[in-house]
């Protein structure tokens, strides 16, 4: 078992979520998300370094193709014509959201103190780090106003859940995991289409702006 590699992957995952939280360019955010998914997809290798099975390799390949290549590709496709390359007015400013993010991480560690997992996880950092990633993704989803960034927040939440699921790999049937991945894929696909349509309808797809514009019409 390569615990130090697992630790490092956990740390990098949370770090990359923080980077996405502080970023304002949508293309850069998507790239960082792809990197995060790539790091996460390598986790089964690190977890079962001593006894690699076909199942591990299958999971690694599927996650890598789906989350590190296909999903970012679809997101790039969704924003290709759109003039929403940057997140201009988040509800909470970038500086404040980084500080809040740091506090959220501390909170996640504090909550994990009272959570116990069935069995012994490979590293004691997996649970708090997955919780932090979920919460940071949630924060991105809540505080950003662009539809694409909200989708990204949702995907980061899913990455957090994936990190958690991987640690329960041995007790979790592979089919469920694949099912979740496919769900995510379909969800992103639908969201990309929706984002595109919002764009066509309202020119700008800043959720709050479109809402206020609708108000002005009356």
């Amino acid at each position: 078992m390569m615990t130090s590699w697992v630790d490092t992957s956990c740390i990098i995952t949370v770090f990359l979520s923080l980077i996405i939280l502080s970023n304002y360019r949508v293309t850069a955010m998507i790239r960082v998300f792809a990197l995060q998914s790539f790091v996460l997809s390598l986790l089964p290798f690190f977890l079962h370094a001593s006894s690699l099975s076909g199942r591990d390799i299958f999971i690694v390949l599927v996650t890598m193709i789906l989350k590190a290549a296909l999903v970012p590709y679809i997101l790039f496709w969704a924003i290709r014509h759109v003039s929403m390359r940057s997140e201009i007015k988040p509800i909470i400013g970038f500086g404040a959201s980084i500080i809040l993010g740091a506090l959220v991480i501390a909170g996640a560690f504090w909550i994990s103190l009272s959570l116990t997992l069935p069995g012994k996880p490979a590293s004691d950092l997996i649970l708090p780090c997955s919780l932090s990633t979920v919460l940071l993704g949630f924060m991105i989803m809540v505080t950003r106003t662009r539809a694409v960034t909200q989708v990204l927040g949702y995907l980061i939440m899913e990455n957090g859940i994936f990190l958690f699921a991987v640690s329960l790999f041995d007790v979790m049937p592979v089919l469920i995991e694949i099912g979740i991945l496919l769900d995510i894929f379909v969800a992103v696909f639908i969201m990309a289409i929706v984002v595109n349509h919002i764009n066509e309808e309202f020119e700008k797809n800043m959720v709050s702006v479109s809402r206020s514009k609708m108000g002005e019409a009356f």
């Binding site: 130090s4 630790d7 490092t8 956990c10 740390i11 949370v14 770090f15 923080l18 980077i19 502080s22 304002y24 970038f94 500086g95 980084i98 500080i99 993010g101 740091a102 991480i105 501390a106 560690f109 994990s112 004691d124 950092l125 708090p128």
Partner: protein, 307 residues
Amino acid sequence: MNIMISILSHWLIALTLAPLFIGIIAKIKAFFAGKKGPSLFQPYYDLQRLFQKNSVYSRTTTWVFRCAPIVNLAAVLVLSLLVPLGPFKAPLQFPGDIFFAAYILGLARFFMIIAALDTGASFEGMGASREAFFSCLSELALFMNFITLALLTHSISLSSMIGADIPMSWKLMGPTLLLVAGSFFIVILTENCRIPIDDPDTHLELTMIHEVMILDHSGIDLGYMLYASALKLFVFAGILLPIIIPIQMANPVIDMLIFLSSMLGLSVVVGMVESTMARYRLNRVKNLLLISFALAFFGFVVKMWRG
């Protein structure tokens, strides 16, 4: 007598090697730009040229402006005594000297800022205000890193915080040290005005921070300022390197070789960061510094979690 020798040898190493470090970074940047670049020893030539010149002072300036370069260089020289350089132990160490280190940096910065204000130029005042703002953020990250290191090594003396306990800590607290090293690297780039934060090569640009404050210094004063900033980079690298590469052999020659090669490695990394990244927009720089703080804080949290 012994301490005098160790202090002098410490200064000798720091003073001779520091400009080389700047030269290597410049060479790496030239290499990435596809240029031949100035010689590795160009910083030495520059300093020699500057030391031979007299200074020109504006009539609006007072003694504050004149003593700032000296205070600056002296402060960094004192700081260098607290940091171990390869096989040479730090000549000065006492419990709590991290606070001394942080505030002697603060003293140097204070004199730089007040000298910039002393010139009465609005441009320099702008630089001074930026420097004050960004350094106050980077100090946050610096102290968070110091707190984490102090908790890891149960000591508040700089040379033992980055000393013998670090190899043990990598086994248990690898993630924490990784975060501390990452955060401290951003602090180094900030404190020494390297590229994602500030561009050391551009003069007269509206976005620059550090360079604008030394615009009015000339001749030997400018030489002092440049020497001090080269030394500062060297000293900061001397703090970071024992954390990343905590190898200590008993043999002083091998230790010195490890130290020099890791110094070379770090300058290559800094040069690569500088040539592959663009300078951040001024209003985004604070985000980078806050990320550095968040990393340090994350390291602290992981340390508390692992106990």
